[in-house]
């Protein structure tokens, strides 16, 4: 198949490109700067409809990963990229007669702030999801699934907390804070959270593409995780250990952390500083309430199982840190 991947430069995007190439597909990678993968790069911005349409020409399938992922920033930026961009990709795919469309989403689109304990992953909730990112991704997912039609099979994949070697977002920041001795736990880090080793998420997406036309797959959203929930304390401890740092021991109460998160968030947006605030209410919530999922339906529908267990993932992470010196 000739497959267009949007957002092929990120941690997950590049892994998806590599996996699809490995499966023998002809892959085009569409993003603003070179992907660094072996795919044929097409440079452009998903907010530019003509650039998207041009890249789409001749494609049999699309994997749409490109999104604005951030904990802060004005709503309009999120809407432009996550909603407008997705509309552009859908329109171009429909125009080009693309048969399979895998939309990459996030479990946060259905998360309204409660603890998720073995949650099967509900419907996207644009009005109730937490924060600009999750809300705009919720709208995008509903748009994508609504485009499922006889001619084009659409599936949404929601990997939760993707990590792995090369992660400049989550992993690198945790390591950085751990090195600086500024990594702390919220409520002793007892909340259970799911995460996904990047290769497993990429394989799930490739499987979804293979099986997109099946009735139990098309028009549906699937949560993808490693199926190995761990306490926040253990996750942070393992990442710190992989980076050669001691596990965090200090803890702050959730209420305090949430309050601090909101305050920092406000200060950040008022002062207009670039980059990410150190903690936001969203993160505080994520790190103090359980987020783990029942993905039995996902495994069955995608005929997929997470191949790399967490232990192996952490071992590879350690190698990566060591290779950085």
């Amino acid at each position: 198949m000739r497959i267009l991947v949007t957002g092929g430069r990120g941690l997950l995007g590049s892994a998806v490109v590599t996996e699809l190439l490995h499966r023998g597909h002809n892959v085009l990678s569409f993003q603003r700067s070179p992907s660094g993968t072996d795919a044929h790069d097409v440079l452009g911005d998903i907010t530019d409809p003509s650039a998207v349409a041009a890249a789409m020409r001749g494609a049999d399938a699309v994997v749409h990963l490109a999104a604005l992922v951030s904990m802060s920033g004005p709503l309009s930026d999120f809407e432009r990229v996550n909603v407008g961009g997705t509309q552009n990709v859908i329109a171009a795919a429909q125009a080009a007669g693309v048969g399979r469309f895998v939309h990459v989403s996030s479990p946060s689109v259905a998360h309204v702030g409660r603890a998720l304990v073995g949650d099967p992953g509900g419907r996207a909730e644009p009005d109730h999801a937490r924060g600009h990112y999750a809300r705009t991704k919720a709208v995008a997912e509903l748009l994508a699934l609504a485009a499922d039609s006889e001619g084009m099979a659409v599936t949404s994949i929601r990997p939760h907390l993707v990590w792995g070697p090369g992660d400049t977002q989550l992993i690198a920041r945790i390591a950085q804070r751990a090195r600086a001795g500024r990594l702390f736990l919220i409520d002793h880090g007892a909340a259970l959270i799911d995460s996904t080793y990047v290769d497993n998420a990429a394989e799930a997406i490739a499987q979804a593409l293979d099986r997109a036309t099946l009735p139990e797959v098309r028009g549906r959203a699937f949560v993808v995780t490693n199926g190995q929930p761990r306490t926040v304390a253990e996750m942070l401890g393992r990442i710190a250990a992989a980076a050669g740092c001691p596990a965090p021991r200090r803890s702050v109460p959730a209420s305090l952390a949430k309050g601090a998160g909101s305050a920092v968030e406000r200060a950040w947006s008022i002062s207009g500083r670039a980059g990410e605030p150190p903690i936001t209410r969203f993160i505080a919530e994520q790190l103090s309430t359980a987020h783990w999922f029942d993905q039995r339906l996902t495994c069955e529908a995608l005929d997929w199982h997470p191949r790399i267990p967490l232990d192996e993932g952490f071992r590879r992470l350690r190698e990566w840190f060591e290779s950085l010196g």
């Binding site: 603890a115 304990v117 002793h188 007892a190 909340a191 259970l192 761990r230 306490t231 309430t289 783990w292």
Partner: protein
């Protein structure tokens, strides 16, 4: 009083499907057309496929809404009709006062109008009971069965009307409470033990929002005939007597916490309807259908059994067996004849030993049997014994058996609350008690005639001149004992003489007991078996309510008294013995060596304890029997075999004893034991036991009994385990504690055993969190530290390594909650709830 025709309920009431609601016109007994609101599963559906009609009749002051979940769960070929009485719910406000007889006639005209034909199962609650039973008496040919929930047809003799109703009936109070304000409705919905969700409570009061709409509630309460000259008294009396002739199956479903219709109304109905199946939902109150989540499913199970043609539980395979009736007191009588002055019983008293010879014990039992009979204890009566283990207890128990009464045994391990709850459920006719027991009985206002132990001498003396009553039959009830209640409220377990004799014979045969043996009875339930076995018993000096207080010297003393060969003790008692072993003199040690068997019974005994005991008595066979209140013993295992077997899929309890069969019903991914009974090795499932000495049934727990006996002739134990290639049973925990992971079910015990082998871990509990079928394994460790919460990475790694499981979290706790009785069974449900809260991030 104003009038208004029937109408439909407002939309949106929780659980109520608007398609069920219809208004039906029917002429009442006076020929006046009345309109009724009725819920009907077949309101607009085809009637030709209906095989059965279930007619649901509410009481006061509810309405057909009460039955919504019965309608919601009805099979397609069953028509469920739930009526609103006239002047109640959304039916006609007639402006008339309708006495009981008229209400019975009203119901008849309505069922005619609805075209109800047999077979019909009638289900009723509260004052719907008398009304629907009146209807049943007039439609007997059509009625296939009757299920009654917290109701009454008669004011039991010698008891006053329920005080709540007496107050409500006092006229000014009645008017104010029932008509002027919705307090009576609120009060009744508040009689639910669970707090009803606000929208459900609101739905109950939906038809009663105005004083006019509530008028009938006042009249309904006024029509409760408590006085003999009441206009409805004759009708009620006719119904109460008439139902004695009913032969159809009856089910009584009861919320014992009902301040209106208390247990004594249940007992009155049981007496009138002896064929009734009874289930008491412990903790449920007046609105039992709201309080007991299992009730509706249980009702449908009962109805489906009816439809399957009576579905009598397959004939009890024991009833026809050629068991010889050798009464429980037979050996006692024989020893009394053969060796009158020989020692039967030694018990510590005032610092020395009271020694009772066989002839005296036998004579005391006979005199007490006659004396108690003269006191009014009849064959078939239940007698509760609140007496510490000793000569008095043994004499009373054998006397009760001798005269054909049944003994209710509630050991102190249940705790005062559990004991009161157990006594209420068993409802003994007589209570023989020491002063402490009498105080408890009085405090809890338990029914039953009270006989202080201080009167036993006088009763026996009176009995000496009286003839011995005729003895019981082999299948007459002999004993009600209680489960430990570590997985829910304690359940009453009924035994007949047949099962007790079978237990005695099994012990005699398996341990090869002869008159030269003697019992050191440190384990309360079995301490009374010495006379039945025809061997002397010595009761060690201990506080039976605190088994840990048993000392090694007390055991040695008792052993010396009878030259004991067989000792039963709980794990806690054995722990006490080991702790105090250093105080044993050489003489004590020598005395202990007469023991042939030491049996640690009642709960799993750790290998360390067993080894400790073995070192004290090297010549004895140290064993732990496996069994439960419902069938004891099932297996037993020698400590050497446990050592030789090494770690395995749980606790090794050994091979089944002679005459006992064990099978496994495989557990599925949802934690249900659905598998056919099998002896295939290596399969994790619920343990089922068939043995001549298993229980007759659970007491007043019809649904529990049916579930436990659903394989005809077998008792499902609620334990999970597996058999090995040599037919030995390994216990992996309780079915209710099975963890249902995506990779299949896991029993907690083998996981805990593996974790407890990690140095530094004193105790471990393995529990599941998350939804059934997708649960995560969580291990909670006690390491002696003060810290609680997430364990460090090193211990986490160790736990995963020794268990080989993807354990989601390893947690630390200062200690683990255990059951009151044995102080050893982990309350895994409480641990799971704690872990679930912690790991969800809720606080």
């Amino acid at each position: 009083m104003s009038t208004a025709p029937a109408c439909l309920p407002p939309p949106g009431l929780p659980g109520l499907d608007p398609r069920w609601s219809v208004v039906v016109e029917a002429r009442d007994a006076d020929g006046v057309s009345r309109s009724w609101h009725v819920l009907d599963t077949h309101a607009d559906g085809p009637e030709e496929d209906i095989r059965l009609t279930v007619l649901c009749v509410h009481g006061n002051p509810t309405w057909s809404y009460l039955w919504r979940s019965v309608l919601a769960s009805a099979p397609a070929d069953v028509r469920v009709i739930a009526v609103d009485h006239l002047d109640m719910g959304f039916s006609d406000r007639t402006g008339t006062v309708r006495p009981l007889a008229q209400r019975v006639a009203d119901l008849g005209s309505l069922t005619s109008a609805l075209g109800v034909v047999g077979p019909v199962v009638v289900v009723a609650h509260d004052w719907g009971g008398p009304i629907s039973l009146g209807w049943v008496l007039e439609h007997q040919d059509e009625v296939a069965g009757v299920a009654l929930l917290n109701t009454a047809v008669h004011q039991p003799d010698a008891s006053r009307a329920p005080s709540v109703i007496r107050v409500a009936r006092a006229t000014p109070v009645r008017h104010a409470a029932t008509v002027l304000t919705p307090a009576f409705i609120r009060g009744t919905t508040a009689l639910s033990g669970r707090r009803l969700p606000p929208d459900v409570a609101a739905a109950y009061s939906a038809p009663y929002r105005s004083a006019d709409a509530r008028a009938a509630i006042g009249d309904f309460v006024a029509d409760i005939p408590l006085e003999d000259d009441h206009v409805s008294a004759g009708t009620l009396e006719a119904i109460a007597e008439g139902i004695r002739a009913l032969t159809m199956p009856v089910l009584l479903l009861w919320g014992p916490g009902d301040p209106v219709f208390s247990d004594r109304y249940l007992h009155d109905l049981e007496e009138r309807l002896p064929q009734a199946d009874v289930h008491r939902y412990e903790g449920a109150r007046h609105l039992v259908i709201e309080d007991a989540p299992a009730l509706v499913a249980d009702l449908w199970t009962w109805i489906s059994d009816l439809r399957a043609g009576g579905a009598e539980q397959a004939a009890d395979d024991r009833a026809g067996s050629a068991q010889v009736d050798r009464p429980m007191w037979a050996a006692l009588a024989e020893r009394a004849a053969a060796d009158p002055d020989g020692l039967a019983l030694a018990e510590p008293r005032d610092g020395s030993w009271r020694r009772i010879p066989w002839a005296l014990l036998d004579a005391n039992v006979a005199r007490l049997a006659s004396g108690l009979a003269a006191e009014g204890v009849r064959p078939g009566d239940r007698v509760s014994v609140l007496i510490p283990v000793g000569a008095d207890l043994i004499a009373v128990i054998y006397a009760c058996w001798r005269l054909g009464a049944s003994v209710v045994v509630t050991d102190a391990g249940l705790g005062p609350r559990g004991m009161v709850r157990a006594l209420r459920s068993a409802a003994p006719d007589h209570i023989v008690a020491v002063p402490k027991g009498l105080a408890l009985v009085r405090l809890a206002a338990l029914p039953g005639r009270r006989i202080p132990v201080s009167r036993l001498v006088e009763i026996a003396r009176a009995g000496a001149a009286l003839p011995l009553p005729a003895g019981p039959g082999l299948d007459d009830e002999a004993l009600v004992a209680f489960t430990s209640g570590s997985t829910g409220p304690a359940k009453g377990v009924v035994y007949a003489h047949r099962q007790l004799q079978a237990t005695r014979d099994l012990l005699q045969e398996h341990y090869g007991l002869t008159p030269d043996d003697a019992l050191v009875a440190a384990f309360a339930p079995w301490a009374v078996l010495g006379p039945a076995l025809g061997i002397p018993s010595a009761i060690p000096d201990m506080d039976v309510t605190a088994p840990r207080t048993l000392t090694a010297r007390a055991v040695a003393d008792a052993t010396r008294q009878v030259r004991g060969t067989l000792m039963w003790a709980s794990p806690a008692a054995l722990t006490g013995v080991l702790k105090t072993a250093s105080a044993l003199t050489d003489d004590d040690l020598a005395a202990l060596q007469s023991l042939r068997y030491v049996l640690g019974a009642g709960a799993p005994v750790s290998a360390a304890i067993l080894h400790g005991i073995q070192r004290l008595v090297p010549g004895a066979s140290v064993r732990t029997p496996y069994g439960m209140t419902e069938v004891l013993p099932v297996c037993d295992v020698v400590i050497d075999d446990i050592d030789a077997a090494g770690p395995g899929p749980g606790v090794l309890v050994g091979n089944p004893l002679p005459g006992v069969e064990v099978r496994i019903s495989e557990v599925d991914g949802e934690g249900r034991a659905r598998g056919l009974l099998s002896d295939a090795p290596g399969v994790l499932g619920e343990v089922a036991v068939r043995a001549p000495h298993r229980k007759v049934r659970y007491d007043r727990l019809w649904a529990t009994e049916r579930a436990s006996s659903r394989d005809a002739g077998w008792h499902r134990t609620g334990d999970v385990g597996s058999l090995d290639e040599r037919g030995r049973l390994w216990i992996a925990g309780r079915l209710a504690h099975v963890i249902t992971t995506v990779d299949g079910p896991i029993g907690p015990v083998p996981v805990e055993q593996a974790v407890e082998r990690i140095p530094g871990v004193d105790r471990a509990a393995c529990v599941g969190v998350g939804p059934t079928g997708a649960q995560l394994v969580v291990v909670v460790c006690v390491t002696g530290g003060r810290e609680e919460g997430v364990a460090n990475l090193a211990l986490t790694d160790d736990v995963r390594a020794v268990t080989g499981l993807d354990v989601a979290a390893v947690l630390l706790r200062r200690d683990l909650p255990v059951d009151i009785r044995h102080q050893s069974k982990i309350d895994r449900r409480a641990v799971a709830e704690w872990a679930d809260r912690l790991l969800a991030g809720r606080r």
